[in-house]
Amino acid sequence: MGKKLFRGGVHPHDEKERTASLPVVDAGLPERLFLPVSQHIGAPAKPIVTKGDKVLGGQVVAEAAGFVSVPIHASTSGTVRSVAPYAHPLGAEQLAIEIEVDGEDTFVEAEGPMEPIADPFNHDPNEIKTRILAAGIVGMGGATFPTHVKLSPPPEIGIDTIILNGVECEPFLTADHRLMLDRPDDIINGLKVILAIFGLDSGFIGIEKNKPDPIALMQDKAASLGGVEVKPLEVRYPQGAEKQLIHAISGRDVPSAALPMAVGTVVQNVATAVAIWEAVTQGKPLTSRICTVTGDGVKEPKNLLIRTGTPIGYLIEQCGGLTDDIAKVIMGGPMMGLSQYTLDVPSTKGTSGLLCLPASQVRTEPQKSCISCGRCVSSCPMGLSPTTIYNFIDADRVAEADEWDTLDCIECASCSYVCPAGIPLVQYIRYAKGRVLARRRQLGT
């Protein structure tokens, strides 16, 4: 059980000072909400409302389509105005349910399948998992993988370690930071619900050392509530990546191409733990989250409590609007976030931040030739050789790109971050992944 630091990684300036000390404020209700049916990894949810339907907050508007899928709930009350393709953070239009908000903000009663569970720590694990699915809970760190799936490993796999991820290693973002300060009890209780599912007594919460106040608070609470060990972790990106986090906390290395469960571990975000606690004890589906709106491109950076489906333009308005020299709006953090092209895009269950960068902070120079400095190699937390993969895929040598472990890349972007030639290495590797997978399919392996 060592606190080991992973190889590689980078030290971007954490930029969290803008919002770390600001309390979370409610963003309020926009006039219209757009709930994409695809807010998670897996099959898009199937809409079950049509134009003209009145919906209440917390009502299911799209149901899960398959095991790796979750339902979508209305995040406030109003009238369905359309169910049509709409702008989506990933770029391609996705089916979205448009709700005209009535302002009443009435929610459905928590009853039937959502009835609060009185003693969640001694409840049937399967019912708890069903509840987590019914509440539409997904990994809220950004990956948005359905939580009930993660909590349902095959029976032959024994899980002995549960880790809550409070690392928040992405620069700029402070959503988890604030959550840990505001709701430490709920986080620990959520963790205990997860522990109860696996019949375990204690789990871990990993927090980077650049957040001393949440560490102190969580350690305090952990001492009084028990069953939790708070692990302060070295500050290095990507400390919050699942495999690196497990490495740091338990010293186990998740094998290549395997999931954390292969080393008996389940990792959940702290926000997910709170969502689980609310779903189980209050019957609340996942309809809101904390989102950090930050960067020098927005006038008043804030930590906002947002409803899922709120157009990002509305959120930015709540923060005083964009500056005149705005050049980039990013959903998520600066290392792994997605640059957006329109403020119409709705926020989703995974929107942990909106980063607005002014023109002076956007790199626009075209890429230069690789000078083989090897910085990408030494920064890669997965022990890959990004420039080699880049060279192979640039020459259409897909087989070699595969041989050099393209598919092991976690797309943390450390390599692009350090590249002095400005080569978009992650983009090349993401592209290479597609080619490698296509080739493997073709070869039938």
Binding site: G158, L338, Q340, Y341, S416
Partner: protein, 330 residues
């Protein structure tokens, strides 16, 4: 109002380093040694340096124009090549040799392969070796006509003397040089190779700025010592002492500034160590038993040619490569 936004793949922040910053930093790190060279050898050294730098930049621009590429002399790589070349020349080098050297370095050493990043060999060393073989007299003319060392020393560098002695003992003797002079740089030689102290200073800057790592220079030096120490212990009357080996010739310049050239060295630490050791061994072999007094340039060039092979066989170990026993040592 709908602002026009940039859309790119992640990441959206960078550490701010660039190829040109790296090139200019290396050039700046060489500057103390170059200035020392001007001080020792006077105006001719300055002229040689100016010619090499200017013509490297000119040839680079011309070649890029001819190839229909963007002219990128402002990225400093041609300037650095010219500067490194000058550091490897004697101050007495005639002007045409400098122009020839710059042309060889930039055109034959770099642009024919596709420009910066594509050259397998260190351009400045390609030029130096071509010149050494083609114009051995001019390349080993250590006369100093002005500067501090004017007329103080005549013939050869310490390594040259040692080699003469080794080849035909009746015609020479092992040189007697004060180590302190070598360390500070009071000795003849190529413009930039004289002062071990200033070269180490520049190297320290590069190390702190994370432009070089220590695996190549340390591997280089360790391997050289591994051969020269036993040789000296066995036959001190025949071979130079290891300290002399360290501080003479272009060793410091080569180990810290030439062998560490990013483009022509391996990608990761393991590979760089192998590369450094290879350089050191070849240098030692040439110095002790070869026909040339000095082997740094040849060794680095030879090792340059092995870089693709080294890279191939020193693939980094990927995360999670060694599977952990299930439910293991928790």
């Amino acid at each position: 109002m709908k602002p026009t936004l940039y859309i790119t793949s992640s990441p959206h922040v960078f550490d701010g380093d660039s190829v040109s910053k790296i090139m200019w930093t290396v050039s700046a790190a060489l500057l103390p040694s170059a200035l020392w060279g001007f001080y020792l050898f006077g105006l001719p050294a300055l002229a040689v340096t100016a010619l090499c730098v200017a013509f490297s930049a000119i040839f680079e621009a011309v070649a890029q124009k001819l190839r229909g590429r963007e002219v990128t002399i402002e990225d400093g790589s041609a300037v650095l090549t010219g500067l490194l070349l000058a550091m490897n020349l004697p101050a007495a080098a005639p002007w045409w040799l400098c122009v020839f050297g710059a042309a060889t370095a930039v055109l034959l050493g770099k642009q024919v392969f596709g420009g910066l990043g594509h050259n397998p060999f260190n351009p400045a060393l390609v030029a130096r070796v071509v010149m050494l073989i083609s114009f051995p007299v001019e390349m080993t003319d250590w006369t100093v006509s002005s500067g501090v060392l004017a007329d103080a020393v005549t013939a050869a560098t310490p390594l040259g003397e040692a080699k003469t002695f080794l080849m035909s003992p009746e015609r020479g003797q092992l040189p007697q040089v004060a180590l302190m002079d070598l360390f500070i740089g009071m000795r003849p030689g190529s413009i930039g190779e004289t002062s071990t102290l200033l070269l180490l200073l520049g190297a320290a800057v590069l190390y702190v700025r994370r432009i070089i790592t220590l695996d190549i220079p340390l591997g280089f030096i360790a391997a050289l010592l591994a051969v020269t120490i036993p040789a000296y212990m066995l036959a001190p009357d025949k071979y130079l002492s290891p300290q002399l080996h360290l501080m003479t010739g272009g060793l410091m310049l080569g180990a810290f500034f030439m062998a560490t050239d990013m483009v022509t060295s391996p990608l990761n630490g393991k590979g760089r160590l192998v590369f450094g050791i290879g350089c050191g061994l070849i240098t030692a072999i040439i110095r002790l038993w070869g026909g040339y007094p000095e082997g740094v340039s040849f060794s680095i060039l030879l090792m340059n040619s092995t870089v693709p092979l080294i890279d191939r066989y020193t693939k980094p170990r990927k995360f999670g490569f060694v599977p952990v026993k299930k439910g293991g040592e928790a």
